[in-house]
Structures are given as structure tokens and as C-alpha cells.
């Protein structure tokens, strides 16, 4: 177990280095674009589509598509 845990742990840079680190504006933009596109697609669009289905399986449908 100790060996397994050791392989899990990869030394990271110091917290001071972390505090000094900043992402460029382009990196920030890339992060937000893919994240928010995914969030809007899955939570809003597909969430609305899915909510119309007669879940759970086996339950009688009370409305039409």
C-alpha cells in the first residue's frame, strides 16, 4: 500500500510558486470556452431534452413527445 501511495504522489511545486503563477489571457479564454460550452450543452440543452422523457423506465408516460 505504501508503494502504491508513493506512486500516486508526485512532488508539486511550492505554494509560493503557485501564488506567483498566472495564466495568460488566452489560456483563460480557452478554459472558459470549452468549460461553458460543455456546461450549457449538458446542463441546459440536454437537461431540457431529457426532462421530457418518461423516466424512470417502466413508468407510464403521462404526456406525448
Amino acid at each position: 500500500l505504501t508503494t502504491s501511495l508513493t506512486t500516486l504522489i508526485i512532488p508539486a511545486r511550492s505554494s509560493r510558486a503557485a501564488a506567483e503563477a498566472t495564466a495568460s489571457p488566452s489560456a483563460r479564454q480557452e478554459l472558459t470556452v470549452s468549460f461553458f460550452v460543455g456546461l450549457i450543452l449538458f446542463v441546459v440543452v440536454i437537461g431540457i431534452l431529457d426532462a421530457r422523457l418518461p423516466w424512470p423506465p417502466g413508468a407510464p408516460a403521462s404526456r406525448t413527445p
Partner: protein
Amino acid sequence: VIAGHFGLAAAAKARAPRVPLWMLMLATQWLDVVFVPLYLLGVERLEPIAGMKPGGYGASMIHADYTHSLVGAALLSAAFGAVAAIRHGRRSGAILALVSMSHWVLDLVVHRGDMPILPAGVGHLPRLGLGLWRYPVASAALELAIVLVGAGMYWRAARAAARRDPAWLGWANVCGASVLVAGALTLGLDVFGS
């Protein structure tokens, strides 16, 4: 990881059909949803990896020392599940908390040893991460596999839900295909959009 989390939530919907899909999708990204404002405020940071394109797929050390610490993620997940349980019941709340915590587990596989155990890295305990992002093709392939399996499980469950009324089968196919396409699009944006 973005698309992989959504794929995992789609698989969870197949196993827990009473939980609303949009809540599973929100739960699976909950840690990142909280991360974004902290990132914009400068509380949590991305550190570009030397020699890699800034903003590229998996090309950052992620210093999300509150949202992506083991204890912080557990607290955020428990809070999400507790609030969800008020409306959707304890079982759904517990499922949503587990899905939220799955975000940390999946991130553990790819992060480069930047995930602390305690919030803010208190105690200077070892930071965790298997570092699969060192091999972008492998990590992208893993995400794609999770998306394909999750979308497949969801699609099958959606068709099963619609089976009693053939009028719903078309709608189930629309939903299943949408999960698949949205997963591929999100993964493509993450990997090739940078």
C-alpha cells in the same frame, strides 16, 4: 477533464433514472463551477507548464487548493448533495454527492501532483495526481472512452424508458444522440480548440 465528467454523469443517469439529468450534469462539474469564480478572483490559479502551449489540453498545473483538495471536494460535494436532498430526497442527494465527488477521483488520474489533501494545502501534506496529462493522447483517449460508454449507457436507458410508448422512442434517440454529440464536441473543443 471536462467531457469525461459529463460522460460519467450520463452513465450515472442510466443507473439512477429518477435523478434529473441536469442535476447529475451540474453535480459532476460542481467543483469546477465553484473553481471558476475563485479562479477569476485570483484565489485559485493555473500555472502554464514550461514548453507547452498556454491553455492547451492538460498543459497547466492547477492550483485549485480549495475546490480540488480532497477535504474541500468532499465538503463541496456533501453540501451539493444536502441541498439537492431537500427537494429530491436523501437517496438522490447521496447519489448527487457521489457524482460530485467523482470529479475529484477522475481529476486525480490526470492532474500532475497538484491536488492537496487539505484546503489551501494546510500542513504541507503530499499533493496527489497520477499525471496522465503528461500523455495527452492517452488522457484524451480515456475521456473519449468515458464519453462513449456513458452516452451508450444513457441512450440505452432512455430507450428503455420510452419503450412503453413508441411515440417516445424518437425522442429518446434525440436525447441519446445529443449526449454523444455534445460529449464529442466538448472533448474536441478541449483538446483541439487550444
